[in-house]
Structure formats: structure tokens, C-alpha cells
Amino acid sequence: MLDQNLLVGAVSQLSLVRHKRRRLGKGRMRTALTFRVTSKQASMATRTLTRGLWSLQRHRNCNYSTAASIKSPPQQSDQVTEEIMKLPLEKPDYFRVSELFTVKDLFDARVHLGHKKGCRHRLMVPYLYGCRLDQDILDLDQTAEHLRLALNFTAHMAYRGGVILFISRRRQFGHLVESTARECGEYAHTRYWQGGLLTNAHVQYGAGVRLPDLLIFLSTLSNVFCSHVALRDAAKMNIPTVGVVDSNCNPSLVTYPVPGNDDTPVAMELYCRLFKMAIRRGKDKRKQVDLLYGLTAPSSPSP
């Protein structure tokens, strides 16, 4: 059958594309098809695949259970996508991230403990509550507010299908960060940062690379106690950053800084858990909204 041949050809091309790890061009909405396509041929393959699937469905009049991941929703109009994107921005806390933690949780996780007075960074002074026997104590009220903003931003980015990259150069927590990223379906980079990773990506990785849309720093310092290179690179490439800044870090370039302890395992586990929950909430909400708008007419209200 002609349709089947088309299907096979399309699938093989797409699998090839997936192996090469090409990504979508920037700004375009990801379709429900989980692999990325760049070139005209590959997008043609997508269309062929969907056409093939639909025609097969019509032939056999049944739903494919295996096609759950590659079944595309009925073509969404631009207006619907706009509505979907605008919906969460109207409420101040659409994903209810303020319920995820309390100030007492931060205290129990020892987030308020900073470094000694001698290690203090000049720009962290506004975030300090005081100094107890030469050890800096961070103001947990400010931290809570900043953390809420950061989690809210992360959830929104996850809702919009942004690529999130966790960065931490602390070897003690490398495994924790990597497993957190794996569990929420995002990416992590806890190894040596090569100079041109963001700034020279098109040369190092090929032409159609999609850069991350958000960088989450679980420690803004690198192993030699200077600022991580990725902070400056993200600012150069106009990528927003969320970062946990300790009392010896420079918070000026971080878009959404979170003043907090980045040395204690309890604190790091707390941050990882919170970011994972925020990302999951964003993604689940997006799936929910997609299904809703897919099944009902665009003008109907969502819950």
C-alpha cells in the first residue's frame, strides 16, 4: 500500500533525525510529536506520517494504542495557542508555587546559613539578615519571596515547553542534580563547562541547535570560587537564569536570584525537590490544557 510505504519512509527518516538530535527552530511551538525536526524534508516527513496515520485510522476505524505518543492533536489554530499561552499569565500564582514550601521548611533545611564574614560578597549585603559570631545569616523572608518568583518563572517556562538546563559545578551534588533533571524530563550539566557551549553552539553542535530557554544554577560558583562561566554566557545569549546565590556569590547577572545556602546537602535536596515539583506542575497543567482545548471548542472556558 502506498500509504504504508510513505509511513515506513517517514518513520525511518524521523528516527534518523532523532538520532542526530536536531532540534526545532527557536520560537516555534513544539507539536505533540516528541521528536525534533528541523529541515524541510523532516517536516514533510512529519506531515506524511500524520496523514498516513489518519488515513490508516479511517481505513480500519480503530484507535492505535501504540500511537499514544505520536498521535498529534487536531490542528490547533494560532488563536487557541495564544489563548493557552496567555491563560496562566493572568493570575499571580497560577501554579500555586507558594504552597510548595514555608519559611520553617527553609529554616529546617538550614538555607539561612551563609559563609563567614570575610567571604562576604559586597552585592549580597542587602540579602543578609545579620552576622552571628562572624557567620552571615541570610534573611529568610526575602529568600522566600525570591524563591516564589523563581519557582513561578520555572513553572511558566515548563508550561510553555521551554528547555531547562540545571547547572551545578559542585561535585558533591552532581548525582543529585542529574537525577533531578532526569526525573522531571529536563537537562543537566554538572561537568566541566567548555568555553563555547552556548556562545559557539552552532559551530560545536551543528546548525539547527536549540539552546536552553532557562538555566537553573544550583550553585553559581565554579570549582575555583569564581562565578560560573555559564552565567555570563547566558546573559550574552539573552537566556534568563534562576540561581541559588550564597553569601560569597555575585547576584548581579542572575535574572531571578534566590539568596540561600548552597553547601548543605539538606538545602540542596530541598531546592532540587522544589524545582522538580514546579516543573512537573507546569508540564502537567500544559497537558491538561492541551487536552481540554483539543476536545472542546476554542471558545469554551477551562477550569
Binding site: K86, G130, L149, G162, D213, N250
Partner: protein
């Protein structure tokens, strides 16, 4: 996609906004985070701050020191009694150390009676003793006590040795002659 790599000028948002306004970035190419940033901006715009300015002379420390009223009592306690009897167990968040119990008792007694500070200090020590916490004093008296203790320990050791020898000799007299000959040799070498 066009971009601006000047991280020291303006914020990420201001650069992208101006690029869009000028038409370099098309509305279709708008980054995903732009609307979210617009709706929920951070508390402080992420402007780059240069740290080149070297201050001349000492500036007053802008961060306040954290001290409590109980710190005076704590300082006196540690001066007199050294480290507390019970080691701190930091795994429990509701752990009360010896010093903290002392401070609480002190505050209680202070609210109840009108006494001098030093007298109140003694009263608190007595009260804690009644509850079962023995506080060992750490002061000049303990130095002489240590020396005396050392001297007495030496004498005790010597006593024990002479006792042992006496016992062994008496045992040897009762028993066979061979072990009696051996044992004095071994004791001499040791």
C-alpha cells in the same frame, strides 16, 4: 536568530525588548520567556554591577551583628563551667542543651525573684543540681586539684606495684619454688 551579546549593558529583557522594537527580532521570533518576564518581573533588574571601585579607609560594617540578651548568661556559663555536660545532638531540631536549660531556668528565676545577678547565677546552678544536672566548675581551683590528683594517682600506682610484689612473694612462699624464682626475674626486668 539575531541577538545582542552585551551582557554588561542593560538587562536581558531590556536588550530583547529594544531589539524587537527596532525590528531586528521579528514578533514571530519572540523568545518564550519574554511574556513571562513581562508579567512577573524580578524584584531587582539583573543589571551588571562593576566591582572596580576600591574603597579607601574603613567603612562601617553594614551588616548588623546578631546578639541576644541571653548571650550574656551564656557567656558567663561557658566561662565558669566550660563545655556543657551533655554533648550537642544536632540531628534533633528540638534539642535543648545544658546551656539552654541553664538560661531558661535563669530567666524563670529572674522573673520570680528580685536578686543580684551573681546570686541568681548560683541559685540557677543549685536549681539545676536539684533537677539532676551536675555542673563541674572550670576555674583556678581545678588546676591544683589536677596536680594533687596526678600525685595521688602516682602514689596509687606505686602502691599497687608494691602490693602486687608482696602478693606474689607470699604466693611463691606457699607454692612451688620454681615459679618463685622466675617471678622475681620478670618483675625486675619489667
Amino acid at each position: 536568530m539575531a541577538g545582542s551579546r552585551l551582557e554588561k549593558i542593560g538587562t536581558v529583557f531590556s536588550r530583547v525588548r529594544d531589539l524587537m522594537r527596532s525590528g531586528v527580532i521579528k514578533p514571530t521570533e519572540k523568545p518564550i520567556w519574554y511574556d513571562v518576564y513581562e508579567a512577573f518581573p524580578p524584584k531587582r533588574p539583573p543589571l551588571y554591577v562593576s566591582l572596580n571601585r576600591r574603597y579607601r579607609g574603613k567603612k562601617p560594617d553594614p551588616v548588623p551583628e546578631i546578639f541576644y540578651e541571653e548571650d550574656k548568661i551564656r557567656a558567663k556559663f561557658y566561662e565558669q563551667y566550660g563545655m556543657g555536660v551533655r554533648p550537642f545532638d544536632l540531628s534533633k531540631s528540638n534539642f535543648v542543651s545544658t546551656c539552654q536549660r541553664f538560661v531558661d531556668k535563669y530567666a524563670e528565676l529572674k522573673s520570680q525573684s528580685e536578686m543580684d545577678d551573681s546570686a541568681l547565677f548560683e541559685e540557677t546552678a543549685k536549681a539545676l543540681l536539684a533537677e539532676g544536672i551536675i555542673l563541674r566548675r572550670r576555674g583556678s581551683s581545678t588546676v591544683s586539684v589536677d596536680l594533687a590528683a596526678a600525685g595521688s594517682q602516682d602514689s596509687v600506682l606505686r602502691l599497687k606495684l608494691t602490693d602486687l610484689l608482696a602478693e606474689q612473694q607470699s604466693v611463691g612462699d606457699d607454692g612451688k619454688q620454681e615459679p618463685e624464682e622466675q617471678t622475681p626475674h620478670t618483675t625486675q626486668t619489667s
